[in-house]
Symmetry: C2
Subunit: 200 residues, 2 copies
């Protein structure tokens, strides 16, 4: 299969995996069901991904890379830090509470070996943390915010923006929030951050 076709085929298979995962959960997402939905054979799935966890790890890695790409696009503007945050916030909100991210978190929760969770943490939170750290430090350099430890500032921002939304989504007690919610939460988080980390 030519490279472009194969890449396209992988996307279709992984899209099918998301569909089945969201419908049936990790344990209920059988390889056969995924293969049938993608009109692929399970032999192909095993050849390409090794085993079930390999397939979902691939989802995790690819999704994290996409999230990171989205955010980096925002970061490379020369806007001031808080402006960046105001456009970054809603996007981050949507990415972290969206169906795909939640499905992956659910899968990681169900994987008893913890490997999926480790991958998710490493390529997810640990990957976007430095990006946010850069923004925070730029804000400090410009006198927009004041804080001693960058890590705490980033953590505070994430708490204010996302809070417990992910866990509530993961246990299925909350539907995907509309974009308006993300915009509102982002504004509120930014406002609160400005108050709590106000320069002297």
């Amino acid at each position: 299969m030519r490279e472009e076709n194969r890449s396209k085929r992988q996307e279709e298979i992984e899209a099918a995996a998301y569909d089945v995962l969201q419908a049936k959960g990790y344990a209920g997402a059988s390889m056969l069901a995924i293969a049938k939905r993608a009109r692929a054979s399970n032999e192909t799935l095993y050849n390409w991904y090794g085993d079930k966890r390999g397939l979902f790890q691939s989802l995790v890695v690819r999704n994290a890379a996409e999230v990171k790409r989205h955010l980096e696009a925002e970061l490379d503007t020369d806007h001031d830090a808080l402006s960046i945050l105001s456009t970054l916030g809603p996007k981050l909100f949507a990415l972290l509470t969206g169906d795909r991210a939640i499905a992956l978190n659910r899968a990681a929760a169900a994987d008893s070996t913890g490997e999926l969770g480790a991958t998710l943490a490493k390529s997810g939170r640990a990957a976007i943390f430095p990006l946010l750290a850069r923004v925070m430090e730029r804000a400090r350099d410009d006198g927009q915010l004041a804080f001693a430890r960058t890590e705490e500032a980033v953590g505070l921002y994430l708490d204010l923006l996302i809070g417990d939304l992910q866990i509530r989504r993961v246990i299925g007690s909350l539907a995907q929030p509309p974009a308006a919610d993300g915009a509102r939460k982002s504004d509120q988080a930014l406002r609160h951050l400005g108050i709590l980390l106000a320069p002297a």
Copy 2:
């Protein structure tokens, strides 16, 4: 079996269920393994709880009731609202990020039917929300805090106190935080809350 013995036996069985759940995850927690660990027969498990989900739903409900009981004990003092929060915070932190609560959240995430998650949300968050609402409103009545919508004040407090700790615990990327962390987080949350909701 006499009532007291039966109640004791249920506790033993449910303790065994926690053990196996924490060791093997929801999918890996077989009814037989739980029965053997409790030196019970699976027939008894099925007779008492109906099926696997019933057993874990029982865990959820009982755990939630215990959490609520702990909190209510604090609430019925005549301390001022913020003092209540300062003793309630660390306890709430420990209960929500403790091994048991996390194991239950993990089970709810793995249950594809969503029933466990619904029960967990209903008897968990929805149950403690009104308790916190009472504290918040008392704080407002006493002029310690100022806010328009109680719900938002409670949500803000929970975001500041817990944030994304639960989801990080659920995917296995974080160990149970020590009590000192809870105390620190509680102090910080209270301080931040006081700033953000400062009376005019």
